[in-house]
């Protein structure tokens, strides 16, 4: 069965760092049925730290995921891995991320380093048994010792593996990078899309929604993405324009962003023999 049409949008406005502006925008985007809201846009200048805004938004997410754009200039992947892990937990697994930066090789290396740090912790590490006093299983933690083209990080990272294993990884064709585990790509018609499990087509508010519905039914796209430059005015327009494909969708009512989008949840379980090897 075809997965329900995915609707995504991005907000780049500087007002996003004003909670009095951001709170109603976030609430409206969620209530109108958006599946993902990108905080920032890869390749465009940002007037805020999108990870902070994602963390602030975590308490407000029920059905919509947030996807901070994370620039390579904003800190070492060790910091990024820690920050995103915490936000994914606080957001109940409703987090994605879109790594970005001027150097595609560095962007991919940042994402690889973060993944290596997250994967150093097994999903079944924690025991937390007050009676026996065992908090975790030490054989379930490995030292990733990641050495890439731009970053070296030994680990383990002092953050648990994220709620979703890895937050949903989004790549934008406007600032592409090449990574096998990319979950979602965003690309315009005719633009070369980064390889990904799901493809969203970048369109405007004037998109031919009937044609998009047909492309979705034919399995050519998983949904659509719209860049907003005036979120307050355009969110209602977006919902109205896409009503034919989003109203009455059989969306999942529970679960993490991965589960809601029909993406696999990576599971890692290290073992004592592996560590010894």
């Amino acid at each position: 069965m075809t997965h329900p049409f995915i609707l995504s949008a991005s907000v780049t406005q500087a007002e996003l760092s004003d909670p009095a502006w951001a709170a109603p925008v976030l609430a409206q985007a969620q209530s109108l049925g958006l599946d993902m809201l990108l905080l920032g846009r890869a390749g465009a200048p940002l007037a805020f730290d999108a990870q902070v805004i994602a963390a602030w938004a975590a308490s407000q997410l029920t059905t919509m995921g947030v996807v901070p754009v994370v620039g390579t200039g904003l800190g070492h992947p060790f910091h990024t891995a820690r920050g995103l892990s915490a936000v994914d937990w606080l957001a109940g697994g409703m987090l994605g991320w879109n790594p970005a930066g001027p150097d595609a090789a560095q962007v991919a290396d940042m994402a690889r380093a973060a993944n290596a740090l997250w994967d150093g912790w097994s999903d079944d590490t924690l025991i937390i048994d007050k009676d026996s006093g065992r908090y975790l299983d030490t054989t379930k933690v490995i030292v990733p010792d990641y050495r890439g083209s731009h970053y070296r990080t030994r680990g383990p990272v002092n953050a648990m593996r994220p709620r979703q294993g890895n937050p949903v990884l989004v790549a934008d064709a406007d600032a592409p990078f090449d990574l096998a585990q990319t979950d979602i790509s965003i690309a315009a018609q005719g633009q070369s899309a980064p390889s990904a499990r799901l493809r969203l087509i970048r369109v405007g508010l004037d998109a031919d929604v009937a044609m998009l519905a047909a492309a979705h039914a034919a399995g050519e796209i998983a949904g659509a993405h719209v860049d907003l430059d005036d979120a307050v005015a355009q969110l209602p327009q977006l919902a109205a324009a896409f009503a034919p494909v989003i109203e009455g969708r059989a969306r999942a009512t529970t679960g993490t962003l991965r589960q809601r989008l029909g993406l696999p949840t990576p599971f890692v379980s290290h073992s004592a023999t592996e560590e010894a090897a």
């Binding site: 730290d49 963390a55 602030w56 975590a58 060790f78 910091h79 953050a159």
Partner: protein, 418 residues
């Protein structure tokens, strides 16, 4: 009117006692959930605390290369926790620990600028330089710089960040506090000098009132010597606590908590402190000083000093470990009734031993709930704690001048120079 005291909640992990996570009133599995932080944030705000402070490290807990099994971890990124708490609170300050050694001025300035905006002016920066040798390898191939080099870099980083905040505030519109409140915790000579030039609040251990008076007097003198107003710097020593209806019950509760630190936990806790995996040694044999000094990555002379007494007394490794776990990190630990605790806190303030306290609950959130429900009302009735917040920013809660408009010329010059 009585002198007012300031309260901070230091909430790294699941409590101050290494065994605290095993207490019936602890909720260690909840630290992954928003509900836990909503509860804690609103609890602290109800107690009219100035701020929540999350300490931080940039390496995972280990003893040698072994990840311990009985210590609560891992700790989540404080930026994420504090930004999330900001969304469900309205007044409590949020102090984020961030290392000048492993952040650039550009990236940390961007982070705090956005945090100050999203928190409505409630953010503080606990300025640390990082010290643990393991941290370095998480950020590349360069070993941890020497302490003096780290503090030199810290001064340059803070100065550069201030220049960036001025630019961001001019270009984008100002963040409510213009920059975070500067908090510092160094205790060495380097640390105290840095704090005297930079900090607006200082977190320190003070096991006794005399220690508190000595530390606060020393810092106030250093602050004055740096050309700053000593009243613009709040001294906030750590204070852990065990509360019960009677003194005897509090002592019994403390003993029960210590008893939850079983032998294996004690060995792991000491392993972490010495940076050496002690699980491989015979715990009933004398302390293997030679082997520990061979294995540790901490400065050998520091570890040799720690080992001196245990070795000379002939105690076993296990005896050393079980003794060591009883005095976590040298902070003041209060054991008694809510009335006694309020009395003690007021007496410290009146004696000039501190401007307030950095509360370190033995376990979380149960012990903090008891403090807010039972000690806070006594402090308020005695006029020592505010009934309402004076404003909405951390600066206002702490009674600090704005930056830079309210600073005198000497402070301005200092702010530019540090």
């Amino acid at each position: 009117m009585a002198k007012q005291l300031h309260l901070w909640a230091f909430l790294q992990g699941i409590g101050h006692y290494p065994s605290g996570w095993r207490h019936a009133g602890a909720r260690p599995a909840d630290v992954w959930s928003m509900d836990y932080y909503r509860h804690v944030g609103q609890l602290v705000e109800r107690g009219r605390f100035d701020a929540i402070v999350f300490g931080d490290q940039l390496q995972s807990r280990k003893g040698g290369d072994r990840t311990p099994e009985r210590l609560a971890m891992p700790t989540l990124d404080p930026m994420a926790l504090l930004s999330a708490i900001a969304s469900v609170t309205s007044h409590v300050g949020l102090v984020n620990t961030l290392s000048t050694t492993y952040w650039t001025p550009e990236s940390l300035a961007e982070r705090f600028w956005t945090m100050d905006r999203m928190t409505g002016g409630r953010v503080g920066w606990n300025i640390v330089t990082s010290a643990h040798p393991d941290t370095a390898w998480n950020f590349g191939d360069e070993p941890m710089p020497e302490k003096s080099a780290r503090y030199r870099n810290a001064r340059e980083t803070v100065a550069a960040a201030q220049a960036i905040w001025r630019r961001l505030n001019a270009e984008r519109g100002t963040s409510p506090q213009q920059r975070p409140v500067f908090v510092q915790a160094g205790q060495s000579g380097d640390g105290r000098d840095f704090a005297a030039h930079t900090a607006e609040a200082i977190f320190c251990p003070a096991a006794t009132m005399e220690d508190g008076i000595a530390f606060r007097s020393d810092l106030r003198a250093r602050v004055a010597a740096a050309g700053r107003d000593p009243d613009g710097v709040k001294i906030m020593p750590g204070l852990s606590f065990i509360l019960a209806d009677t003194q005897e019950a509090a002592m019994a509760k403390d003993a029960a908590l210590i008893a939850l630190a079983d032998d294996d936990l004690c060995i792991e806790y000491l392993s972490e402190s010495l940076c050496c995996d002690l699980t491989v040694f015979d715990r009933n044999a004398p302390v293997p000083a030679e082997a520990i000094l061979e294995a540790t990555i901490l400065p050998r002379e520091d570890i040799a000093k720690v080992l001196e007494r245990p070795v000379s007394s002939g105690m076993s490794l296990l005896q050393f470990a079980t003794t060591y776990v009883r005095t976590p990190r040298g902070h003041n630990v209060f054991r008694g009734t809510p009335e006694q605790m309020a009395e003690m806190m007021i007496s410290w303030i009146n004696a000039g031993a501190s401007d307030g306290f950095t509360m370190q609950p033995a376990y979380m959130p149960g012990e903090l709930e008891i403090f807010v429900d039972q000690v806070v009302p006594i402090l308020q009735a005695r006029g020592a704690l505010r009934e309402e917040y004076p404003g909405t920013t951390l600066r206002e809660s702490m009674g600090l001048p704005r930056w830079p408009a309210d600073m005198g010329p000497a402070d301005m010059a200092q702010a530019e120079a540090v």
